[in-house]
């Protein structure tokens, strides 16, 4: 089955895709904000907008997200991240989600979210 790669980055950055499609499955990279400094709400909004954009390019949408892994630089940011998440997520079809804290690859990054989604669906 064909594998489609979107937005491949190369050396000296990490060699990786930002979206990979295989059959009905869509895999997104750990998405982070690109404009800094920015507070947790702003970063979360940018991350979720980027996720929307990749899902649209992949031919799917946020109600088809299966899993979301959220990493926060500091668990003290949970409440604010979550408020942004709750206004964004499809309340009828939310994904399974895990959220843990961990230091991210640059100190100014407060949140990173990795999702998988189903292509097609309703």
């Amino acid at each position: 089955m064909t594998i489609t790669h979107m937005d491949i980055t190369s050396v000296p950055d990490a060699v990786m895709s930002h979206c990979v499609i295989h059959g009905n499955m869509v895999y997104l990279a750990g998405i982070r904000a690109s404009t800094f400094p920015a507070d947790i709400r702003t970063q979360t909004k940018e991350v979720l907008a980027t996720i929307d954009s990749y899902l649209a390019r992949a031919g799917t949408k946020r109600s088809n997200i299966l899993t979301a892994q959220v990493w926060l630089k500091d668990m003290g940011l949970f409440q604010e991240m979550n408020e942004v998440w709750n206004t964004w997520v499809d309340a009828e079809s939310p994904p399974s989600r895990a959220c843990v804290s961990g230091e991210l690859c640059r100190p100014e990054i407060l949140v990173e979210i990795m999702v998988t989604a189903l292509k097609g669906g309703n």
């Binding site: 594998i3 059959g23 750990g30």
Partner: protein, 119 residues
């Protein structure tokens, strides 16, 4: 649908688990370095070699990796891990990836990687 299991761990003091599973055209493998006396560059190479070994056993290859999750003991090792990653991955068909710092099960583990691949 049958599930194939690779590298079942079941020895005293270790978690009971499979290092890899495959089902239909979908494969996942998660591993740490067998020799943890070395630094992050060597451990990353060991992990990627081990993952590749299981990919081959499952009938696929590094060119069909879809997604990778990298956990580092110390995010300061990011560049070092990344150099090894960059020389391993197929630059025309790389997977999506995320990398975060996490406390490892044992302090000598510098890196752990899970991949999902197609076959």
């Amino acid at each position: 649908m049958a599930i194939e299991r690779y590298g079942i761990v079941n020895s005293p003091g270790r978690p009971v688990m499979s290092l890899g599973l495959a089902c239909d055209d979908w494969v996942t493998v998660c591993a740490t370095a067998p020799d943890r006396t070395t630094g992050v560059a060597d451990q990353t190479k060991q992990v990627l070699d081990l993952l590749e070994q299981y990919l081959i056993e499952a009938g696929t290859s590094r060119t069909r990796v879809l997604s990778a999750m990298v956990w580092l003991r110390d995010i300061a090792d990011y560049e070092t891990m990344n150099d090894v990653w960059n020389s391993w991955v197929d630059p025309t068909r790389p997977p999506v990836r995320s990398c975060v710092q996490a406390q490892m099960a044992r302090s000598e583990i510098a890196v752990e990687i899970r991949i999902i691949a197609a076959r």
